[in-house]
């Protein structure tokens, strides 16, 4: 693992830039634990102040410090993304491994459902969900629903890898030495699949955070919980752009864009590293 990270740092400029961007965002998110005031309280500082040495990113029209608000928001947003990514990884791995290994009718049935979930437009369904739940909606519920829809694309990817693994000799050896299907899948095939899972995790986070921001900006989530989208929602509610309180929108937008580009670059570099041809090309032959 350490060797892998060192190689990536040394040979992949994408990984270097991505890691720095993500480190900055993570630092901001961890600062939330030393915030001087909880994020729900309004009018703790004078409202509408531009960025200054006292209030680095200015203050909002609701009398909150944008910097501390932002650190809570990015923490919650990242937590949301991780939550969706982890849950959907479990589903994607299960479906991908089983579908690829079993083949036949199991595979066909699972992939039909899989293709369906890829195609269905999710946003109207999430909006419908919000419409029914209204104030009862919680971020965990939303994360769960998104995870139920967000695994399909990656399950297909995992399935294709497992299909090629099944055709290799070591699978036959395992089978003849009496390993059960579960053992073969978890002990033999899973390690081959994990690198792909890592790179899809980043992409999945980008996807789910993007959707969450979108929903929150429209006010279709739990708006009392500070998230990036929630901050932009409140800024829009107070017509921040027209009132000239640009820092209320600019800093959340900037932070989420930095997070997105960082995650995306990490995914790209991980992808390049997985592909042996391009790995040889980037590392010049070293491991």
């Amino acid at each position: 693992m350490a060797v892998l990270l060192r190689n990536l740092l040394r040979h992949s400029p994408e990984f270097r830039i991505g890691a720095v961007l993500i480190a900055v965002v993570l630092l901001l998110a961890t600062l939330a634990s030393v915030s001087p005031s909880p994020p729900e309280i309004v009018y703790v500082v004078p409202p509408d102040l531009p960025p200054s040495p006292t209030y680095w990113f200015g203050t909002t029209s609701r009398g909150q410090d944008v910097f501390w608000q932002l650190s809570f928001a990015i923490r919650n947003t990242l937590l949301f993304g991780c939550n969706v990514a982890l849950t959907s990884r479990v589903i994607a791995l299960t479906v991908g491994l089983i579908s690829g290994y079993k083949g036949g009718w199991t595979d066909r049935a699972l992939m039909s459902v899989n293709d369906t979930l890829i195609v269905i437009p999710l946003l109207p369904i999430l909006v419908l969900f919000y419409f029914v739940m209204r104030d009862q909606i919680s971020w965990l519920m939303l994360a769960l629903i998104m995870a139920c829809f967000g695994w399909a694309y990656d399950a297909r990817l995992i399935r294709s890898v497992v299909m090629s693994l099944r055709a290799r000799e070591f699978t036959q050896t395992c089978l003849f030495s009496g390993m059960s299907t579960r053992q073969i899948l978890t002990e033999e095939h899973l390690p081959y699949v994990l690198p792909i899972v890592f790179s899809t995790t980043m992409n999945n986070m980008v996807w789910s955070i993007g959707l969450e921001v979108t929903l929150a900006v429209l006010g279709f989530t739990d708006i009392d919980r500070p998230t990036i989208g929630g901050m932009i929602y409140w800024a829009n509610q107070h017509t921040a752009m027209v009132a000239g309180v640009w820092w209320w929108i600019a800093f959340p937008t900037l932070t989420v864009v930095v997070a997105f580009i960082g995650l995306f670059l990490l995914a790209v570099s991980a992808n390049a590293y997985i592909d042996p041809r391009s790995r040889l090309w980037t590392t010049g032959g070293a491991s």
């Binding site: 369906t116 437009p121 109207p124 429209l218 580009i261």
Partner: protein, 334 residues
Amino acid sequence: MSGYAAYVGRRLGQFLLVVFIGINVAYVITHASPIDPVEQSISAVSSYGNTAPGAIEQMRNSLRDLYGLSGTPSEQYLLFWKRILRADFGPSMSAFPTPVATLIGRALPWTVGLLSVSTIVAWGLGNLLGGLAGYYRQSRGLKLMGVIAMGLHPIPYYIVAMLLLIVFGFVWPVLPITGGSTMNLPQTWTPEFVLSVLQHAILPALSLILIGVGSWFLGMRALVSNVLAEEFVLYAELAGVKPWRILTLYVMRNAIVPQVTGLAMSLGGIFNGAVITEKVFGYPGLGSLLVDAVYAGDYGLVLGVTTISILGVSVGVLLIDLTYPLLDPRVKIS
């Protein structure tokens, strides 16, 4: 030909499955949630003053009928399907008594127009530039384009749309930032109206294209550099085929096939983006209709738009799938 028929049959089956699962998800969400939309509406209405108990009871019954919540669960389920197959979502609550179907019919052409044009432009442009970038690897301009595509691609639609809105609405106001056409203009096929529609579509379309181009560009570049390693390309080069001909007819012709599949797979996601773009630019399509319906608490309209979106996206995917054999003759043989 029988191969093609089997292919079409399979695709039709998949289409029906998508619609079936999509509608069922909508049913489960609306009927199995612990929140009763009827009681919510009633408490919202009755909190504003004195309402006679009899009137509340009457309201409860008519709302139950309207939401399709009366009768046993199996009756409700059948009723749900019957309404959808007849495209009958009842009258809209927020634009009473206009039927939901009429409102959707009014909004649909805007969304279909915006979405189809911007998707085709983004797909075509991304593939063309991506193909060039994969073939001419040393070109500085194309490399720069790759970096820009990489930077733009992961940013969510909302942020890009908002940035465009700020730039062209506040910083440099040259383009109309809201609406589908100039107000007070009769919606007939006059040159004036068409021109104003095109002008209003520039910004929403631009935001969709800016986001869309990136992924097609990156995908095509990777595919082309894979195809370039194939032996038939080397053979063509040795045989003295002109580079442009190799790129278009040999390399890109082969690389375009997975990109068509990719287009069909990403249509749902592109539609999500259109919903947001429409809301940001106040474009009078399905997206604005959906969001406004939620704000207005219009149950029939929300359900109607959701169903129509699922149906519309699956039809789009089916159409792309049906043209696929034209590009990949292998489908006909197997």
